[in-house]
Symmetry: C2
Subunit: 227 residues, 2 copies
């Protein structure tokens, strides 16, 4: 859905979309081969061949073979940050994030088998797991920064309060905790949604579980009604 | 605070408290030695000597040397689950959890240097990190089970709705997502509180950051007020 044409932002452009498709194909090939043969037996040559590109092209996207295993959705994460910044001002930060992530996960039902394989590959390769965790934490920080920017923009002079009213100290103390918490909690909520949906695939769609999860967050995690 | 005498529950009893103190001393010695020398150079003999116990005693608490590095607060996690189950019925599940975790983290200011060392040790030992992540996920599951039990108890016959009113299917579908989400989000919130407090130690107490974090969760993560 983010891939419709005619957009000139970071998400659009034919050239940009081709690059994304190539990167995604390489990452997917890497994970599938590793799940099949074990990480150590997968060469850059095999990954490139499986994705239908040359070894030279592989190295346009990744510095080392291991880089191809670490993150399989780097582009999606960048698009989520962009959407958070571009969402209508009337949306709360939580709702902006819910929309952005919901759009990216519209194909979760088709993608989750690959994600499961990716998790399996990481579990069997501690050194890749360590790198993947670092990438995950860096991503959380970048998302928190995008949310902080949105919060600052939303509480700027146009809201009636002069920007100078907040001292440097206040500005440092307050927005820091909120966007960090929101980024981390939303990421956790996505994981829980996926895990829950995986265990209940016959009963519910992923979108349904995802929306219920974010509604629970927005409502302050109230106890479910007595039955 | 959980260690005051006269309690006859899972947390009390002199014998029980002595065992906990020994386990904690061994885990702390293991982490401090590993941070100093590197995990591979730390022997069971050295850990036992640093904690002032015999090697035989070490093996009463841990099956292998590596087990001593994996979790440094296993007892605290068990106490949190117990507190969640024992909290007054009037508290919401989120508030019961906030109370339970807040009590356990009352000494966070003294403990965090050890937690930081522990994180450092795990970062340098991928195989321990993998085991620690598994322990963390198992703990999240156990906490979710305690929360599910609390939710079930709170919505039982005493609340006016006959227990039989919920079909097997409803019972399976509903409590599952909520307690899992609450356990995972609260764990994430604790991590964010600790990280934020570590970066702002001169300005705020840990308790202050922790309470603000859980208030944000209870309020549904609203945007901070415009300044």
């Amino acid at each position: 859905m983010q891939l419709v044409s005619g957009k000139s932002d970071a998400g659009g452009g034919l050239r940009e979309r081709k690059k994304r498709a190539t990167r995604a194909a390489l990452a997917e090939a890497a994970v599938r081969l590793a799940a099949e043969r074990g990480v150590e037996k997968v060469t850059v040559e095999a990954i490139s061949a499986a994705a239908g590109v040359s070894v030279r092209t592989f190295f346009n996207y990744f510095d080392t073979r291991d880089d191809a295993f670490v993150t399989i959705d780097a582009d999606a994460r960048a698009r989520i940050r962009r959407s958070v910044l571009d969402a209508p001002a009337a949306l709360s930060p939580l709702d902006a994030l819910r929309e952005a992530i919901g759009t990216e996960l519209a194909e979760a039902e088709q993608r989750h088998e690959l994600w499961r394989l990716h998790a399996e590959v990481l579990r069997t390769s501690p050194h890749l797991l360590v790198r993947s965790l670092s990438a995950h934490m860096a991503d959380e920080t970048e998302l928190a920064e995008a949310l902080a920017e949105r919060v600052r923009a939303g509480s700027g002079p146009s809201c009636g309060a002069p920007a100078a009213a907040a001292s440097d100290e206040e500005r440092r103390a307050a927005p820091d905790l909120y966007p960090r918490l929101l980024a981390a909690v939303a990421t956790t909520a996505v994981r829980v949604s996926l895990e829950h949906w995986c265990a209940h695939q016959e009963e519910r769609s992923f979108a349904d579980v995802f929306q219920e999860t974010f509604s629970l967050l927005a409502a302050g995690l109230p106890a479910p009604p007595a039955r």
